[in-house]
Each structure stands twice: as structure tokens, then as C-alpha cells.
């Protein structure tokens, strides 16, 4: 069972997406911001990380930078799932090491397709 770390400050998204992806056969770990995510990474090694950008505390950029800078997490693929869908944010995300930038809102089918393609 593939493990996905899902980070989003919007609880509704977090809950609904977790429910959906669980139904699709993934194991979900969640965090509400970057710091929360890093903490979860201490005890888990997911196969994929999906993160929001705008979050209180540590935002998505800082989070990606952090995981890309530490040996243990560097190889985990990162997908960015953000409502701040500007070219600048997308460019910055890719520079930091994300492999895809997914715009909110997005159909679950499309999201699922990207996850499957990545894993």
C-alpha cells in the first residue's frame, strides 16, 4: 500500500481528499502546515508528498526546500496542490524540486491520474 503525505491548512480539503484517496487504496498521513508535515516525516517515509503552498506557520515553499535539503526525504516526489495558481508560484515550486503543480480546484479524477503516474 503506497503511503501519501497530504499537507493542507484547509481542513475540509484535507478530510475529503483523505477519504477519497483512502477509498482508492492509499495510506494517508496528513498535516496542516509545513512544520506539521516535517514532524510526520520523522516517523513516516511516504511514497509521495502532496502539499498546499499558502499555510500558516511554515508555508509550502519552505517545506519543500526543507525536505529537499535533507538526505532522508530528498528522493520523495512532491506534488504541489495550490489555489495560488500563478506562473511565478509554479516556477518557484518546480525550481525547489516539485515534480508537478496542480491547480485548485481540480477534479479528483485528474488528481488521481497524476498520483498514479507519479507512483
Amino acid at each position: 500500500m503506497k503511503k501519501i503525505l497530504l499537507i493542507d491548512d484547509t481542513v475540509d480539503i484535507l478530510e475529503n481528499l483523505t477519504e477519497f484517496l483512502s477509498m482508492e487504496g492509499y495510506e494517508l498521513i496528513t498535516g496542516t502546515n509545513g512544520l506539521d508535515g516535517l514532524e510526520k516525516l520523522n516517523s513516516n517515509t511516504p511514497d509521495l508528498i502532496i502539499t498546499d503552498l499558502r499555510m500558516p506557520g511554515m508555508d509550502g515553499f519552505a517545506f519543500i526546500q526543507k525536505i529537499k535539503s535533507q538526505e532522508s526525504t530528498r528522493e520523495i516526489p512532491v506534488l504541489v496542490f495550490s489555489a495560488n495558481a500563478t506562473p511565478e508560484n509554479e516556477q518557484k515550486s518546480m525550481q525547489l524540486g516539485a515534480i508537478r503543480f496542480i491547480k485548485k480546484p481540480c477534479t479528483v479524477e485528474a488528481l488521481l491520474q497524476i498520483i498514479e503516474a507519479t507512483l
Binding site: 480546484p105 477534479t107 479528483v108
Partner: protein, 1202 residues
């Protein structure tokens, strides 16, 4: 060690050892005592034991044993004491050696032991053990020059117990070291010297200080010697012990040494005694004497004035030991003072003996001094009196003005008359300021009585006036010339003749040479001169020319000439009238001659001879007679005689003769007739009479008529002759030529005048005439309009001469000149000039002008208002004054150009205004001309282009400013756009997030619908509905923000009932939240206030819902409503999660949400909206919060509509 044994420690340090020795001695004595006691015991025992040898033997043994022990004990004691002594000795040596002083001692006893401290090594470098003889060794190091000093001191020791000396020592390093050595002799109890003891101390530093002190004293001494004042110090006997150089030279000595030890009287004899008295007084009293003036006679017999200060000289104990004095030579000053006194006395003498009065005032006008003439002018002139108080009221102010004028350095001089009429007194008054060192200290007023001069002047003036009046009234000519031939004076007759060019023939000019002779010869000459009138008719004058010496000694020429032209005509009239008188006169004064034509022999009676001035050898023939006749009359006489001889007719002739006897010209009246001689012959009888005097008298009487005739014939003017009493007026042809009247005789002159003089002028003219009469003026002049025959008026200039008889005007002779043309021209010119100046003055552009020299003479209103300088201020000032100095050259060029008739145009001239701004005037300058077209100045017409220039200069600045403003606006706009786009981006994010949730849920439903039961399905639908609701709120809030930001919402104030309104809102919120209660604390002193309901709702609902939302674990929130004088205060308080400090900074920013909100829903716009609403209501909102404890919002809203 053994060497040291022979050195005995100095006495003073041996006491301790001595004591120790005594102690040891005691021990020894005790021991001896013990020994003695034991011996006694033993003896007793011996005696007891004598009987028993055994006992004795054993006793002996015991004794020897005891003895042995005793000697052992003694040895031990000795060893111990020696050790102690040695230790003490070493200690002492260490003390001595550590001293810097060199200490030595030598026993004078036989032992000859000596000691020297180790400190000697430091100086000499020789160690103590090496020293065998301390005297010679030490002596080797003493400076060769100083060896004797020590030697002498040592010699002294033979007589005294103690000596002290200072000398130099050369130390081991070759340096000089100053030492002071004290040597004393110690005696034993019997008075015998036992020891010499010396201590030598290094005093180099002391010596250095001493040297510096001496240096200082020398410097002080030089200073004292340089001072020109006499400085001296005296001892208690008043003997001079110090004199400075000035003092030495005062007493005539060459060196100070000669002057010392002497008394002042030794220097100056008896004149010095008073100084000794002073010395004594100062010495005894201890009180200083200051600045006493005294004099002495020095050795040269000169008197010297001294200003002396003496101070008691005290030693360190305060005891007076002498006197210090300083004297200053004030002889010169005293001499000056004496001279001053003398000159003051002189001045005072002059002061009191002069006839002029002198008054000295101080600077406040009080009389300081007034001499006797001044006091005689007014007895009030007392010292101390303020002069302004004793001056009459009407003169006070002017006098004060004069004093003020004088105080500025001017000498004010004026004349003043006191009293009236005969008794009046004239004074010339001079006021001068008295200054000292440039400071005003008073005034000197000199008054000189001018009355005599004034009176003489007045009488002179009177006589002069009389002279002029007489001369001007006389028909005769009178003039005075100087030796250069220039006229100094001419009477009216003469001036008239000259003015009318009647002296064209050169009357009295051709005879200049002859005139000079008169002046030089100092003799009167009588000549016949002539003038020619305009008609060319000759007029003869009998002139007497005479030298005059004027008051300054210049020689002048005077002339008095009588017209004799018309004499004959007049005389014949007179002859008829006065024939009888004349005859009678003739008889007495007549002479006669007879002449025989046949024999050419004449006979003269005595009277005739006298009249003709004949000499004794006179040729009595016809030729002789003719030789006396004046050359100009010769022909007349010859003709008359010839006529008589041929026709036998008598003749009657007047002619001039030149008297042979004195050359005088005389007028002769001669009548001849034939008288029968005897038989056929006949004699010619001539009766002669000298008529010279009569001629002159006649001439004077005739002058008036002649003058009138001449004038009336000569002039173009209308001449009128008014007989005032007869009211008859006679005119010359002028009345015809000028006015067109044919009559020349006006019988009713008064009425005529009234008719003819313009009614507007008549009154004035009459008044002027009456005025002239009243003042007995002989001349009258007026201008008025006179009616012509054709009905027009002509302007005339009328000048008349008035003749008085017994102070009563009897006749007026006048000449009227037609000045109509001139007058009209003048009026035309005046009108034009007035128009022009009006034009200039009121022109709407600056016009100003200067004369050729640049002095302003035109300055119109616009110029005045532009520059701020009024016309009256600038007239007569240089134009350059109102221009910056850099422009003066340009102005000069303009003036020169225009003055040479080259107009200048379009010049830019800067003019300085009164408030020191600079105006730029665009000028056209043209020459200004007088009526004769001469250039008299320049006229400048300008245009104020200052603003234009400034505009030009400022344009760039303005463009820059505008650009800057535009840039600012642009950047503001950019900022706005940025804010907007940021807002849009954030807003889109906020929409995308719920949309994202919806999308996920919808995706979920679509995919897993089949697996869901109804409840799960509803949960999903609710989730969607929640997102939709959130988006709806979000949209409402964003629209609200958008509206307020676009300014679309304005506050609509209405009265609001506080209680009802807020309770209602609170209730709504409570019901909608359902989770909390709202505690309302209403403490309001007002019931109603003005505000906008909608905005208020926005504020309160947002705050209350926030408070509820963010305090999920609290049961209630608190809503407070209170007020101050000006504000309604609303507080919303919760016990919620609180807001971090970081978040507080941006709490009112749109979409900003606290970092700790967790899953609490919100748009991040509520507070932003609340803040905007508060702003619209002109209120304030404050927030205080603590994380985890709660938050309080305070809103203050004005009670009254702003």
C-alpha cells in the same frame, strides 16, 4: 671581621649595648656575690672541717668542682654577650649604611678609632674597608675650588663645637654633587673632647632649587629695573637697600651700589625730608601710603613732581622690617596742569573783559559759566540754571533746535533782534558744541552785539535807497564804471538808453582812454557827449566825469550827464516867460565887447573878459575871439557874425566856449548889434552872458518831457500818460497800431479803463494799482486783457512809472506791450504739456524719465506702484540708485546714446523695488526735448516683464514639479493596481479553496455513489453546501470591501436608539450562533446617537461573531456599551484563543487570518470590513489580545455627527 673590631660604634647608638653590658655586669656581680657567699659558707664549712681533713679534702674537691662550673658559666656568659653585641653592631651598621648621608666619626682619644658609613661607597666608589684615613680619602673627592671651604670649617672647630659647610664633591661618575656637612665635637662628662662626628648630606637638588630661585630673583630684578617708575626698598632705618635703575638715575648715580645705605635726604637734601616723614608714618602705622603727590629738587636743581605709593615691608613673621615704595614722575603732567590753569585763567580774563558775552553750557543745557557781559544781557544767566528755562517761549524751540544742530558738530550762527523800533538790539549768536574725546560735554554760546553795525547798515541801506531813488528819478544820466570799463551802476535813464540801443554811437565809450586819465589824474572832467535815438537824431549830454574812490580803495569813474539837446527851444520859451528877470540878471552878470570890423580890433570889458576867461595877452581881434569858441559851435558863430556883417542885422546866439584860462566849457549867450561909431564907421556890440549854470538847471527841469518824447517816439508799445487828478490820458500811436482806436486823448480815463480792461481782470488790476500807490512804489507792472476796437481782447504787459507829488500819485506813464501771441503760444504749450504729462502719468505702462545726467524727473503712477517708490521719493534722485551696481554702466551707455539722439528700444533693465525685489522692465528710451528742440533728458516707456522672465525661469521648474507629481500619481496608481491585483489573486485563492473541496466531494460522490448509504450521502451534500455558504459569505464580504474601497459607501447618519439597536443585534447574533450567550453591559448616559445603522451592524456583527467563533470553549462573550463626553464606546471581549503579536500587525488586512485559527472557518475579511466601517464613521478601533487568554476590541464612535 677583625678589622671591624677596632671600629667603635658611635656613641649615640651604643646606649643599648651599654645597658646590655650593665646587665651582664649585674649578672657577673651576682655571680661573684654568689661566689663570695659560697666561699664564706665554704670557709665556715672549712673551719668546721678543719678538724676533719677528710671533710676538708672532700670539701676541697667540691670546691674545685664548683669553681670549675663557675668558670664554665663565666665563659658561657662571655660568649653569649659577645654574640649579642656583635649582632647589635651589625644591625646598627646596616641602619647607618642604608642612610644616604655619609656619617663618620673619629675618636679624639688615644685610640684614634674612626668610622665612616658605607654610603660613602655610593659617592666615592671606594669600599669602606679600603679607607684608611677618612679625612684624606673624603678630601680627595671634594671639588678643588671648594677644598678650602671645608678646610676653613675644620679650622673653626678649634673655637666652636659645631660647624656647617657646603661644598661640591666629584662623585665616582665624575658628576658634581653638592654636599652639606655638619661636624660637631662630643665631649665626655668631664668636658674633654672625645670624638668628632660628621654627617654629609647630598643637597644637589636643594642647590638646583636655590639656583632657580636666584634666576627668578634676577628676572624679577630686571623687570623692576625696566619699569620707568622709581622703585626702592628701605630698611627699618629708612636707608635705601634696593633701588631700581630708574631710581638710581634719579639720584644721579651710575650704579645701584653707590646709592645704597643712604637716606632720601642724602639724595635730595631738605626736600627729601617729607619723604622721611612719610617713611616713618608708614613704618610705624603699618598702613600703606598711596598716590601721594610730592616734589623734590634733584641734583641738577630741577623740581620733580612725584606720585608715590609706599607699602610696609614685612618679614615672614609679619613684622615690619622696612618699606617698599614706588614713585611715578608726574612732572610733565604737573607742568601741563599748570599750563592748563594758566590758559584757563587767560581764558577767564578774556571771558570777563570782552564785550561779547560767553556762556558755557553742559550737555543738559545748564549754564556752567557765564561772563559778565552775558550776565548783563540777562540777570537770569546764573550758573546751574537751565538755559531753556530762561529763554522766552517763542524762541525756546528754535534755540533747542540750534543746540541740537550744534551737537552734531556744526557751528550754528544766527542773528536775532531783541526789542522793537529804535531801542531794538541786534545780536549775532554762535553756538558750538564742546567735545572731549569725541564725546559731547557741553556747548559754548557766544553773543556779539551787532546793533551798531545793524543800524549803520540800515542807514546805509536807506541812504543807498535814497540815492537810487534820486538817481532813478533824475532825467540825467548817472553811472559808475570800474577801471576796466565795466558798469557797476547805471541809473534808470542810462539803463533805458542802453536797453533801447540809444548809445549805439558809443556814448562815453570812445573816451575810454580819456576816462582812465580821469581816474589816474584824480580830476573831474566835463565833456559833451551824445547819443542817437532810433530816428537817428542826436541827443547831446553835458557830462561831468569824476573819479571816485570806494571804501575798498579802488578807483572808479563816475559820470553825471545832463541832456542839453532841447535846451534852446526850451530856453526861448523860458526867455519869454522870464524875460524881465533875465534882463535884471543880465545887467548884473553881463559883459560886453565891441568890435570894429574895419580895424579888426576888439574891446572887452572886464566882465566879459572874466566870463570868457581871457588871459592878459589876449588877441582882441576876431580870430582871437573865435579861438575861444568850442569847435562844434564855431561854424554857427562864424555864420552868425558873417550874416550880421553882411546884412547889418543883429544876432542872438548861444554857444560854448572853452575858457583859455582854465579850459572849462561854458555856455555863452550872446546878442550882437551894430552900434554907430563916430562918423561913418560902426561898431559891432556883443553882449555876453555865462548861461552854463542856467543851462544845467534847465536841463534837469526839462528831462521829464524829453524822456517822454524819446520814449514815445522810439517804441512800438502803446505809451500812455495818465494825469490822475485831471483823469486825462494821453496815448502815443500805439493805441492805434495795437488796439485800433483812433483817438489819442482820453478825457474820462477812469471810465475808459474800466470799459477796456477785461471784466475778469479789472478788479485785480485796480487792486494792484492801489497797492502800488499805498506803498509809494514808483513802478507798477501787470498783465491783463485789453479790449480792441474790433471787439477782441489782447493780452498786454503793462509797465508804468508813477509820479508822486507830496506822497500823492499824480501821474502814471505806462507802456503796454502786446503779448497776445506769446500768451496764446504759452497757453498752447502749457495745454500740450499738461496733456502729455497727464498721458504719461496715467499711462497704463511704466513711464519714467531722467535729465541728461540721469536724475529722475518723471515717474508715472504705474512706475510708482510697480516699484513701490513714490514719485516724491524718487524725484531728483539718480535713476541708478534703483538699479543694481552691475547695471550702472549699461544705464550710462543708454543715457549717452539717447542724449545723442539715438533712441534705444527693447532693452531689459532691472529696477530694484522698495521691498528689494528686482523687476525687469522692457524699455524703449527716447530723447526728451524742450520747446527749442534741445535734448533735455530721456523718457523711458517700459513694460514690466518680470513675471515673464520669472515665468520663463520658473517654467522648467514647474515642468519638473509637474513631472514629479505625475510620477508620484503614476506610482500611486501602480501601487493601487498592485494592491488590486494582489486582492484579486488572494480573493481567487479564497474562492479556489472551497471550490477545490466541492470538486473533491463531487468527484468522490461520482465515483463512490454506489457504495454510500443515505447518511454518508447527506454528509457529502452538507459538505458541499457548507462550501457554497462559505463562498456566499466570501462574496458578500468582498463586495462590501470593494464598495467601501471604491468610496461607494458613505455614512448616512440617523438618530439611533442605543439600547434598542444594540440589544437587537446582540439577540440576532446570539440566535444565529446558538453556542454562546452575549453578556451585555449597558452603562450609557445617552439614549440616542447619530450614526449609520448599516455600518454599525457591520462592525458589531463582525466583532461579535468573531468573538464567538474564536472562543469555542467559552460559554459567553461580553458586549459593553458605554460613553464618554464625545464618544460612544463599544467593547467586545472574549476568552478565546487570542491573537499572536505577529498577527496583530496585520489583523485589519483583508484576508489575513491568525496563524492559530486552525479549522475555524472565516474569510479573513470581517475585521477588515469592521475597520473600514469604523473609519467611515470617523471613529477608532483598538485591539488588545493575549494568546490563549482572549481578545478585547474597543470601538469609539463620535456621539455627534461629524
Amino acid at each position: 671581621m677583625h678589622d671591624e673590631k677596632k671600629i667603635v660604634q658611635p656613641h649615640s647608638h651604643l646606649d643599648e649595648l651599654e645597658e646590655r653590658n650593665i646587665a651582664l655586669e649585674d649578672i657577673r656581680k651576682n655571680l661573684e656575690q654568689t661566689v663570695r657567699d659560697k666561699t664564706k659558707e665554704l670557709q665556715a664549712v672549712n673551719e668546721e672541717l678543719l678538724s676533719s681533713n677528710e671533710e676538708l679534702k672532700s670539701a676541697n674537691e667540691e670546691l674545685s668542682a664548683i669553681n670549675e662550673r663557675l668558670s664554665e658559666a663565666l665563659l658561657l656568659i662571655k660568649e653569649q654577650s659577645e654574640t649579642i653585641i656583635r649582632q647589635k653592631d651589625e644591625q646598627l651598621n646596616q641602619v647607618l649604611d642604608s642612610s644616604n648621608d655619609v656619617i663618620w666619626s673619629t675618636d679624639l682619644t688615644a685610640s684614634g678609632n674612626s668610622y665612616i658609613s658605607r654610603s660613602v661607597e655610593r659617592i666615592t666608589g671606594i669600599s669602606v674597608p679600603e679607607i684608611t684615613n677618612i679625612f684624606s680619602t673624603w678630601s680627595n673627592f671634594i671639588h678643588p675650588d671648594d677644598k678650602s671651604i671645608r678646610q676653613e670649617s675644620l679650622e673653626l672647630l678649634k673655637h666652636q663645637n659645631q660647624v656647617s659647610c657646603s661644598y661640591r664633591v666629584i662623585n665616582k661618575r665624575g658628576e658634581e654633587v653638592w654636599m652639606r656637612e655638619q661636624i660637631r665635637i662630643e665631649f665626655n662628662s668631664e668636658g674633654i673632647p672625645i670624638r668628632q662626628l660628621g654627617i654629609a648630606t647630598d643637597i644637589s637638588s636643594l642647590k638646583e632649587a636655590e639656583k632657580a630661585l636666584i634666576q627668578e630673583r634676577l628676572m624679577l630684578r630686571s623687570v623692576i629695573d625696566i619699569i620707568p617708575d622709581y622703585i626702592f626698598v628701605k630698611d627699618s632705618k629708612f636707608r635705601h637697600i634696593i633701588n631700581n635703575r630708574a631710581m638710581v638715575s634719579l639720584v644721579g648715580a651710575t650704579s645701584e651700589h653707590e646709592t645704597l645705605g643712604k637716606l632720601t635726604t642724602d639724595y635730595f637734601g631738605s626736600t627729601g625730608e617729607k619723604f622721611l616723614d612719610d617713611d616713618e608714618r608708614v613704618f610705624k602705622s603699618g598702613i600703606a601710603l598711596s598716590n601721594k603727590e610730592e616734589n623734590i629738587i634733584n641734583l641738577k636743581g630741577e623740581k620733580i613732581e612725584l606720585l608715590t605709593t609706599k607699602v610696609p615691608l614685612r618679614d615672614e613673621n609679619g613684622i615690619t622690617v622696612g618699606i617698599v615704595g614706588i614713585s611715578r614722575d608726574i612732572t610733565e603732567y604737573k607742568n601741563q596742569e599748570a599750563i592748563l590753569h594758566q590758559s584757563e585763567a587767560n581764558l577767564r580774563t578774556i571771558f570777563d573783559h570782552t564785550e561779547d558775552s560767553f556762556t558755557l553750557l553742559d550737555h543738559e543745557y545748564n549754564i556752567v559759566m557765564a561772563n559778565s557781559p552775558a550776565r548783563s544781557v540777562s540777570p537770569k544767566f546764573d550758573v546751574g540754571v537751565n538755559i531753556l528755562k530762561i529763554i522766552s517761549d517763542e524762541r525756546r524751540e528754535i534755540f533747542r533746535k540750534y543746540l541740537e544742530q550744534a551737537s552734531h558738530g556744526d557751528i550754528v550762527k544766527y542773528e536775532v533782534e531783541y526789542g522793537k523800533g529804535q531801542d531794538s538790539q541786534w545780536y549775532s549768536i554762535t553756538i558750538a558744541a564742546v567735545k572731549s574725546d569725541g564725546r559731547l560735554i557741553g556747548y559754548c554760546i557766544t553773543t556779539h552785539n551787532l546793533t551798531a553795525i545793524k543800524k549803520a547798515e540800515i542807514s546805509l541801506r536807506v541812504s543807498e535807497e535814497r540815492f537810487h531813488a534820486f538817481m532813478d528819478a533824475s532825467p540825467a544820466i548817472a553811472w559808475i564804471k570800474n577801471s576796466e570799463g565795466n558798469y557797476l551802476y547805471g541809473n534808470k535813464t542810462w539803463n533805458n538808453l542802453k536797453e533801447n540801443n540809444m548809445v549805439a554811437s558809443g556814448f562815453m565809450l570812445k573816451n575810454q582812454k580819456h576816462e582812465l586819465e580821469i581816474i589816474n589824474g584824480n580830476q573831474s572832467v566835463e565833456t559833451i557827449e551824445f547819443t542817437k535815438n532810433n530816428a537817428g537824431v542826436k541827443q547831446y549830454w553835458n557830462a561831468i566825469k569824476f573819479p571816485i574812490k570806494n571804501s575798498t580803495g579802488d578807483l572808479l569813474l563816475g559820470c553825471f550827464a545832463i541832456d542839453i539837446s532841447e535846451r534852446k527851444k526850451y530856453e526861448s520859451e523860458l526867455q519869454q516867460n522870464q524875460i524881465l528877470l533875465s534882463r535884471a540878471y543880465d545887467i548884473a552878470e553881463m559883459g560886453y565887447w565891441t568890435y570894429n570890423p574895419d580895424t579888426n580890433h576888439g574891446n572887452w570889458n572886464e566882465q566879459a573878459k572874466r566870463i570868457f576867461g581871457l588871459e592878459e595877452n589876449f588877441d582882441t581881434g576876431f580870430e582871437g575871439y573865435l579861438s575861444t569858441v568850442h569847435s562844434e559851435d564855431l561854424k554857427k558863430v562864424k555864420d552868425a557874425v558873417a550874416l550880421t556883417l553882411s546884412n547889418n542885422k543883429p544876432y542872438d546866439i548861444e554857444y560854448r566856449i572853452i575858457r583859455p584860462i582854465d579850459g572849462a566849457i561854458r555856455w555863452i549867450h550872446e546878442r550882437t548889434d551894430f552900434v554907430p561909431n563916430d562918423e561913418n564907421s560902426r561898431l559891432l556890440l556883443g553882449v555876453v552872458q555865462d548861461i552854463t549854470i542856467r543851462k544845467k538847471v534847465e536841463d534837469i527841469l526839462l528831462e521829464y518831457n524829453q524822456r517822454y518824447e524819446i520814449l514815445s517816439r522810439a517804441t512800438n508799445d502803446a505809451i500812455w500818460d495818465l494825469d490822475i487828478e485831471q483823469d486825462f490820458e494821453l496815448w502815443n500811436h500805439g493805441i492805434q497800431s495795437i488796439f485800433g482806436y483812433s483817438t489819442t486823448h482820453i478825457t474820462s480815463a477812469k471810465q475808459w479803463r474800466k470799459d477796456k480792461i477785461h471784466p475778469e481782470d479789472y478788479g485785480r488790476v485796480q487792486l494792484e494799482i492801489t497797492n502800488a500807490f499805498d506803498h509809494r512804489r514808483t513802478n507798477w507792472t501787470s498783465q491783463y486783457r485789453y479790449l480792441c476796437a474790433n471787439g477782441n481782447y489782447k493780452y498786454v504787459l503793462d509797465r508804468a512809472y508813477i509820479i508822486y507829488n507830496d506822497n500823492k500819485p499824480v501821474r502814471m506813464i505806462g507802456a503796454m506791450q502786446d503779448i497776445t501771441e506769446q500768451r496764446e503760444f504759452e497757453q498752447h504749450i502749457i495745454a500740450t504739456a499738461r496733456e502729455l504729462s497727464e498721458l504719461i502719468e496715467n499711462a497704463n505702462t511704466p513711464i519714467f524719465g531722467t535729465d541728461r545726467n540721469g536724475y529722475i524727473n518723471e515717474w508715472n503712477k504705474v512706475t510708482a506702484s510697480l516699484t513701490g517708490h513714490s514719485k516724491s521719493e524718487v524725484l531728483g534722485e539718480k535713476l541708478s540708485r534703483y538699479m543694481s551696481p552691475t547695471q550702472h554702466k549699461n544705464l550710462k551707455i543708454i543715457l549717452n546714446r539717447v542724449s545723442s539722439n539715438k533712441p534705444v528700444s527693447d532693452l531689459q533693465i532691472p529696477i530694484r523695488t522698495k521691498d528689494n525685489r528686482e523687476l525687469t522692465i522692457l524699455l524703449n528710451a527716447t530723447p526728451r526735448r524742450d520747446t527749442l528742440k534741445n535734448i533735455t533728458g530721456i523718457l523711458m516707456v517700459g513694460q514690466n516683464i518680470t513675471e515673464l522672465i520669472e515665468y520663463r525661469q520658473n517654467l522648467e521648474v514647474k515642468v519638473n514639479e509637474r513631472t514629479l507629481e505625475l510620477n508620484e500619481a503614476l506610482s500611486k496608481e501602480k501601487e493601487l493596481v498592485e494592491i488590486k491585483s494582489k486582492f484579486v489573486s488572494i480573493a481567487s485563492h479564497e474562492f479556489r479553496t472551497p471550490l477545490s473541496t466541492i470538486s473533491i466531494v463531487v468527484g468522490f460522490l461520482r465515483k463512490h455513489r454506489a457504495k454510500l448509504n443515505d447518511d454518508d450521502f447527506n454528509v457529502k451534500l452538507n459538505a458541499i453546501e457548507k462550501q457554497v455558504n462559505h463562498m456566499t459569505y466570501l462574496l458578500d464580504d468582498i463586495l462590501m470591501i470593494g464598495k467601501t474601497e471604491a468610496g461607494k459607501i458613505t455614512a448616512q447618519h440617523n438618530p439611533i436608539s442605543i439600547k434598542d439597536f444594540f440589544l437587537q443585534i446582540a439577540k440576532e447574533v446570539e440566535e444565529s450562533a446558538k453556542t454562546h450567550t452575549i453578556d451585555i453591559k449597558l452603562m450609557c448616559s445617552v439614549a440616542e446617537f447619530y450614526s449609520d445603522e448599516k455600518l454599525l451592524r457591520n462592525i458589531i456583527i463582525n466583532l461579535l461573531t468573531n468573538a464567538i467563533k474564536f472562543s469555542p470553549n467559552a460559554p459567553s462573550v461580553v458586549f459593553g456599551i458605554s460613553n464618554t463626553a464625545q464618544y460612544l464606546r463599544l467593547t467586545v471581549e472574549d476568552k478565546g484563543i487570542g491573537i499572536s503579536e505577529e498577527d496583530l500587525k496585520n489583523i485589519f488586512t483583508s484576508f489575513h487570518r491568525g496563524s492559530n485559527v486552525g479549522d475555524i472557518q472565516g474569510t479573513g475579511l470581517g475585521l477588515s470590513i469592521a475597520k473600514k466601517a469604523v473609519d467611515l464613521l470617523h471613529g477608532t478601533i483598538q485591539i488588545s489580545s493575549k494568546m490563549g487568554e482572549g481578545t478585547q476590541f474597543t470601538v469609539n464612535l463620535p456621539l455627534q455627527q461629524v
